[in-house]
Symmetry: D2
Subunit: 355 residues, 4 copies
């Protein structure tokens, strides 16, 4: 069983969809060995109890151990716990060793502003003293800081998609004031627990908005894009649930000075993401979910209308797989950076076609 | 075979999805008898050749006759022909008798402005002299004119949905300048011919934008809402194709003065549609496609954000079945009005649940 | 509110999918008025609380009254209660008046043999004394008995589909011994409660068998086909859940003497169902779900292989919408027969295309 | 660009779904470098023209070169050409060098019997002289022969699934005479060209049988299982198309002596596949598509009924992803064996959850 891999990882909170995708990527990772998975569900059962695709693929079982114990002897802990639970367990994980690194997939350490967290997540923050130690895990913005970080807060799925779609504008100083955004999402974003919103008979033929103008990813996006140059960004975001499993497509509308022609905007987007391993501007089409489903790639793009009175409407698009670049894939990408590994390790698969 | 029904109808161009839905509604119509269906496809074959649900339900066959001949002896002709073909056949249909009424589902007679038509449909208009005789068939706006009309241009699917979502604002004088709209549509909107965009292996897991800021329904919406009170409306519309079969969900973003509180907006919407047989403002939820799929009902709704600097973002929602209220159902509704019948005849079915 | 309809109906247990479809058909029924809906869920709320398609379509609310009270003053009660609950409420319903008729959608009164019921439903029968009073509601087999019945047990969805596919063979004396059957079903068959098997993220891409050789519809089918002439039928039935919402496709395999050529078999099937309002043998294709989805029609068909050693394999197909002909539609059909109405009343809609 | 990989491969016929999956696996293969892709479509365009998931992932373009030229300088050619085209190009490929190996995904070299090929594929075989040189590429049956082969015919999707489900019975001498099989398939099995059967509006809600008792995979399965011990197998196979993208679920019905109890059958299945890298018998559930979608794993299982007159009905199940273990994944698996590599190279990914 000695794999000879250089690093050891533990997953804490491994029975959800984020856990499944992290476990999958770790099992085929060339440099990091998954040594244990802690969970309060399925204790003592094989990982296949939560993810049937793992049937007879690994001998690991879900262990009903405290997070601090799970963190013993590993180089990195990947947290797949729910919001507020993640923060409540951080102290004991950090105490397991002075060097254990943590990638957290929850929303607990993404916002620097405790008040904002408590307003949007409607909960007292369980561990505000650690907020300053966390780096926001969007490599396209914070790659060097992530490399040096001990703690990384991996971004949310809508947040990743919208941030990547707007980042070039923020950096160019073009993002200011009210911006309208619609994000459309697949059902896996709702998680592993069956509910009315994911009941197949209704979901399969439905388009439905929820939490319009009130989604908890808004402050995360606003904080992040402010760091990149956005000024007083007022994101007006309407999410829609659609009948697919994996994927998010986001559309943002902004009004820009007419000198921002389609060609100039496209050049800005290409330049911003030149050299990025996981973000691309498709050459002959706009971003679409099928192209990124199952992979860690994001697609971004831009379309601009005719000028009028000195301004033109510009629409920005982003597409991701919410469980990969919008979730567990990006968590692995962050782990790779934190451990000094190839950022693409275990993430190079371009994904299936058709998805 | 004498049905004793009071009126006779012919469908011209009956082998597409619009034709199928019109035929279905006519077959169960209490007052209008479908006497023939003309088509250039499936000539001589039962209607079930195009719509398997009609197997052994009717003895009618597709007749390969000219539109003018199809119009002989009927009270009303329903046109399910493609754009430009509809207009090119109108003269001979109108000549069949001085009283035959026509409901056209194509885009040919929706725009009053020939130049606009030719710019958006990229085709010389085949019958511009008749444009002035057509009434735009949105009953919520033009009911009385439709009742008296000989010719009605039935609205497009995106157009119907967006117009109903914005009509209350237009009437209240609140619609002006740039408005951002996203519309998400099912695959039946692409019609009966297989294509890359409706190929199941890709469509089933995709979200994809197309024609952003360039959709041909934009001028139709702009003209219509101007009649209702919109001023210099600049619609910026981005359509998205999603993996469901029937349904459109539209979201519009506008910035209004802060005195337009959520409660006041909801009251405006309820008041506008009070008494309307086919448009409703759901009481405890926002519009969703599953609720209207398979029925002639549209749902509209509103959500508003917190005020800031004297203004607030307001989002307007509309949901329809693109083939019913957004297509053939509304064509039947127009026919009912033109013939002096109950507007709801053959359209009262609330639709399936789950859809 | 006086509708002038000749009969009055109550639905008891109206918050599930069967209830929704019965309510929908009653609301557009020309001769039967739905006067109340009893339920233990959503008490006091509009029917739209369970079926959003009914929003503002009716003023009825769910009433939290006992079944016996719900049966007061109506001509017919339609039961949409779960198995065992239906039987436990029958006595009080029957006592409401000496003439009230009952159509039961549950499995409680389908089997004549109490021991069989208790073996398959794993429950003591709550009302065995009434079994003899119930007629099995498959009109193609029992139409005249249904017309005279006070109590009808409406068939199950798999049962209806398989029985219709095999009925011609049973009548022709060709059904004997072991028969292999696979039935594939949509997710609405699992009912309104979210569960792991109907969770959209997994269901949307899955094909999964369940209860192979153990489904509770087997004795119902065996009893019914025995009445039609089957001898010692041993049905070996494997159900499969598939990612669609509505519809069942069943395939049965039998070995017949070679003189049963494809042409002779097709003639047998056509003859059996000639004149049936809701069962058809498609002319140029085999049964398919899309053709019957949303309608009360069933399709049946046959394909036969080459002969070998005096015998040939024959495959029989059946397709229904599990909620209509396989459920609530057939319940309404039975009600129509019991009340002496047109069997097709409120069921004539051929259904949508595409579905 | 020197990758340092030990072997070089070319794909010929790379613009279909089989090609896309082979290319994907080669791009992440540790030991085999994809050096070129020949195609008659998309010549000169990036591979992303056919598979958007490859956008900016590789610099390769589709080359419009003859197959013989494509085979120059490579160790292995993977053929993704249509039936009959593959065979017509084999001679020139084989002539490229005396050592170039070939894995063919078409049906051209699977049947040893030319007459059978010509009856089922309705075409004169273009290269019958090479039939004897091909090994049938089912590793679970022919692993050692594949290792030594120069030419391998990779199995069909239904064939793989059904063969794996029945192989243990064949080996145990239990497979004889008539066997009934139903196979349910996703839409990707129909390939990349849009058609009526894969048109989303209809496919999304349909279950439809096609070619009942006439599918061209039947002789392939019969020949293969005969080699494993089946006697006079008469496969009666009915395929069904279902609304998912990837995956096949097959169910076979056989009648066995009653001493073949469920426990004994399960032991037989476990024993047969113990040690197999890509076939598993799930421990606590039956095979399902979601568990294998996107991976090279197959699942098989068995359920048995109660005995009667000395015999019992036994049902055998198989599940695969038709494009991976049922197609291109198995082609790569064969390539790995032929090149002396780890059979699991580039195929170890357990696949996504949810799929």
């Amino acid at each position: 069983m000695a794999t000879g891999k250089r690093f050891k990882a533990a997953v804490v909170g491994g029975s959800g969809y984020g856990g499944a995708e992290m476990i999958r990527r770790l099992l085929v990772h060339p440099d990091v060995e998954l040594v244990r998975v802690a969970s309060i569900d399925f204790v003592g059962e094989p990982l296949a109890a939560a993810d049937p695709a793992l049937e007879q693929v690994t001998d690991l079982v879900f262990e009903g151990i405290p997070p601090g114990e799970a963190a013993q002897g590993v180089d990195v802990v990947l947290l797949g716990l729910p919001h507020t639970v993640a923060a409540s367990k951080l102290a004991e994980i950090a105490a397991a060793s002075p060097t254990v690194k943590v990638v957290d997939m929850s929303g607990d350490f993404r916002l620097k502003d405790v008040a904002s967290y408590e307003r949007w997540y409607k909960h007292t923050h369980p561990c505000p003293e650690r907020l300053k130690d966390f780096v926001y895990g969007l490599p396209e913005l914070n790659r060097e800081a992530i490399r040096k970080a001990r703690f990384v807060a991996s971004p949310g799925c809508f947040a990743t998609t919208i941030e990547l779609a707007l980042l070039p504008l923020a950096r160019a100083g073009l993002l200011e004031g009210v911006v309208h955004v619609q994000g459309i999402t697949g059902s896996s974003g709702s998680g592993v627990a069956p509910s009315a919103g994911t009941h197949h008979p209704v979901r399969a033929g439905n388009l439905r908005t929820y939490k319009p103008l009130e989604h908890q990813h808004v402050p995360e996006i606003t904080e992040t894009l402010a760091l990149a140059g956005a000024r007083d960004l007022q994101l007006r975001f309407v999410p829609v649930s659609a009948p697919l499993v994996r994927g998010i497509l986001a559309t943002a509308f902004v009004e820009l000075p007419e000198e921002w022609t389609p060609a100039r905007l496209e050049a800005l987007y290409r330049e911003t993401y030149a050299g990025e391993p996981f973000v691309r501007v498709p050459r002959k089409r706009l971003p679409e979910v099928a192209a990124v489903s199952g992979s860690n790639h994001a697609e971004v793009g831009v379309a601009a209308g005719a000028p009028r009175n000195g301004r033109r409407t510009v629409t920005l698009f982003g597409a991701t797989d919410n469980l990969v670049k919008g979730g567990a894939g990006q968590a692995i990408e962050n782990m790779n950076l934190m451990l000094g590994l190839d950022e693409k390790a275990s993430l190079a698969d371009p994904g299936p076609w058709p998805p």
